[in-house]
Amino acid sequence: MSFINYASREINCKIVYYGPGLCGKTTNLQFVYQKTAPDAKGKMISLATETERTLFFDFLPLSLGEIRGFKTRFHLYTVPGQVFYDASRKLILKGVDGVVFVADSQEERIDANIESLENLRINLKEQGYDLDKLPYIIQYNKRDLPGAMSVEELRRELNTTNVPEYEACATTGEGVFETLKAVAKLILIDLKKGK
């Protein structure tokens, strides 16, 4: 649910990075944070455990510039990926405008990917959203690892609805901005339709 403020001429949108534990959601945000000019970003907040596992969420506010005199701002959130944090995960999805599903390309994580994707659908449904109607894209992360499955295999398992997909290596930043741009664009096109 975006927030349009005519008084301050701003549009705010919320993007959520979802995916199984250790798939690289936080790493995606960290890379965006590192590579963004200081005037275009706010502080990145990570509510994490002492071992740097996300406990509640990471948050990164970004401003992209103006469209027709309106400042466009995107608030990037990640969810905690570990299975037992489901109650927290649901909360982060409230008011979401677009979703990036970050999949771990390693073969041994395929079941975790599938489980997380099902969990995403269920949790969205609980909030009254339908994943197929939301701006939604998939990122195949960790393409650099030797145990990575082929994109065709991943697509067959995870992208049955044929949404836009991007290959990435979040630690080096490959594909990170492509993913972000793609989802931001889908959200703006959605707004244009006046949904």
């Binding site: 948050f59 008011g95 959203y129």
Partner: protein, 163 residues
């Protein structure tokens, strides 16, 4: 979608700012913020430049969401007031009209009792403004009124953002 887009117009924005500006004085507070339940900052008055308002908004909404989850687990609808006491500064957080979050930051020049009392009165006024705002948005939507700034944007406009 489960929630319509929150739209804030000039007129209501001024009304909101009047109410929280008055509350700031009457409650002897340092800063007051209004935040959408999804974490978007709506407005703020007082010493706002001293604080990272965007982060504050996001964490407040996370806080309310988490305590809301706790409330449901024990069979409550929500906890409508949260109070955080610090060594110098305190936070009084309350839900207004079931939809927005009012955050009052105050120190020992004020007191919890005073803040609670003044917040209660202002909450009623704010509720009324937000209700009016919701009706206005709904009516505009029904009329198909096209003052929506994004209806006219082109693909080029969107591409330019990323160039």
């Amino acid at each position: 979608m489960s929630n319509p887009t929150l739209v804030m117009y000039e007129e209501e924005f001024q009304e909101v700012n009047e109410v929280i500006g008055r509350l700031l004085k009457e409650a002897n507070a340092k800063v007051i913020f209004l935040v959408d339940k999804n974490g978007q900052l709506i407005s703020g008055v007082g010493e706002t430049e001293r604080f990272d308002t965007t982060s504050l908004a996001s964490l407040t909404a996370g806080n309310i969401a988490a305590t809301g989850g706790l409330a449901k687990l024990i069979g409550e609808k929500e906890f409508s007031i949260l109070f955080h006491e610090g060594e110098k500064d305190n936070l009084h957080i309350s839900i207004v009209g079931g939809r927005v979050i009012l955050v009052v930051l105050f120190d020992n020049r004020s007191s919890l009792g005073l803040v609670r009392l003044r917040v209660k009165k202002s909450s009623e006024e704010l509720s009324a403004i937000f209700e009016k705002l919701m009706k206005k948005s709904e009516e505009r939507e029904k009329r198909g009124s096209s003052d929506f700034p994004f209806a006219e944007i082109t693909d080029d406009d969107i591409d330019n953002l990323f160039s």
